[in-house]
């Protein structure tokens, strides 16, 4: 990977290898899948089919709960009412961001990307030999920032990283691999924020 940077013409560019592109695509697909189940449901028959709406309460899955949190602090009724009106829209916009990432990476990533590839993924910030450049405009960069954030929120929820002091179980091989990916995505996101902010 070559991290994100702002090119001379103002666009945001980065270079990803096929493995890296497949990894990000796989994760974006999973997040979109999680949110897809929410976007499709509505507890209010009046609103079903209108595109607005949502469920009555926060999801039991901690990742979904973090992506679509309660809006009111300490007022479950108000949170429920607000969720019923806004949840589907929020979930749909997050899915759109993930789809933007998938479209950007489609020319690099192969179609059969799976999460199983993570274990074999060679993540680096200096492998210049392999990889293709992607170019983002302002809207694309915003979608990417949001999608990368949603992916990192999802991984953190899976790893049980809820507070600044939480750490992963070093004996859990799968968790160690996932934490590695999480850290790498943090670096990718950081470079994107810096490039956009220039």
């Amino acid at each position: 990977m070559i991290p994100f940077e702002r090119s001379a013409d103002g666009s945001i560019v980065a270079t990803f290898s096929a493995v890296e592109a497949e990894l990000i695509s796989s994760l974006a697909t999973q997040v979109a899948g999680l949110l897809g189940s929410v976007a499709a449901r509505s507890d209010d028959p009046e609103l079903a089919g209108t595109g607005i709406g949502g469920s009555s309460r926060m999801d039991d899955d901690p990742a979904i709960a973090r992506l679509l949190p309660n809006a009111y602090s300490g007022d479950d009724d108000a949170s429920q009412e607000f969720r019923q009106l806004t949840e589907r829209g929020l979930a749909s916009r997050k899915i759109d961001n993930a789809v933007t990432v998938l479209k950007t990476l489609a020319p690099i990533a192969s179609a059969d990307a799976t999460l199983g590839g993570i274990a074999d993924a060679e993540l680096s910030d200096e492998s210049l030999e392999f990889g293709e450049e992607i170019t983002l405009d302002a809207a694309g960069a915003l979608a990417w920032m949001r999608a990368l954030t949603d992916i990192r929120l999802t991984i953190a929820a899976r790893l049980g990283i809820v507070t600044d002091d939480d750490t992963i179980d070093e004996d859990d091989e799968q968790a160690v691999v996932l934490a590695d990916v999480y850290g790498w995505l943090g670096m990718v996101t950081e470079s994107l924020v810096e490039a956009v902010d220039q």
Partner: protein
Amino acid sequence: MVQTTPELVQQERTEFDSPWITLVWNDPVNLMSYVSWVFRTYFGFSREEADRLMMQVHNDGRSVVATGSREEMERHVEAMHDYGLWATLQKADA
């Protein structure tokens, strides 16, 4: 004649009509640079103010980033959720 400063009028109106606040809460995921950038681009804060609020979130666990009507705060909270920031609204005196 006493000239009322716009700032004071704004403050009085805010307190009268709109006792609601938007809070952004600390989380271990979002990058400090990203949170500051969101505060600047969405709320229009200066870099200095955005960084101050971001550090407040980081150190104190939360920060009030907006005050206004309930509807406005709902809009801000939904926008923060779009960015992946953890935000809630509540009455200012709650």
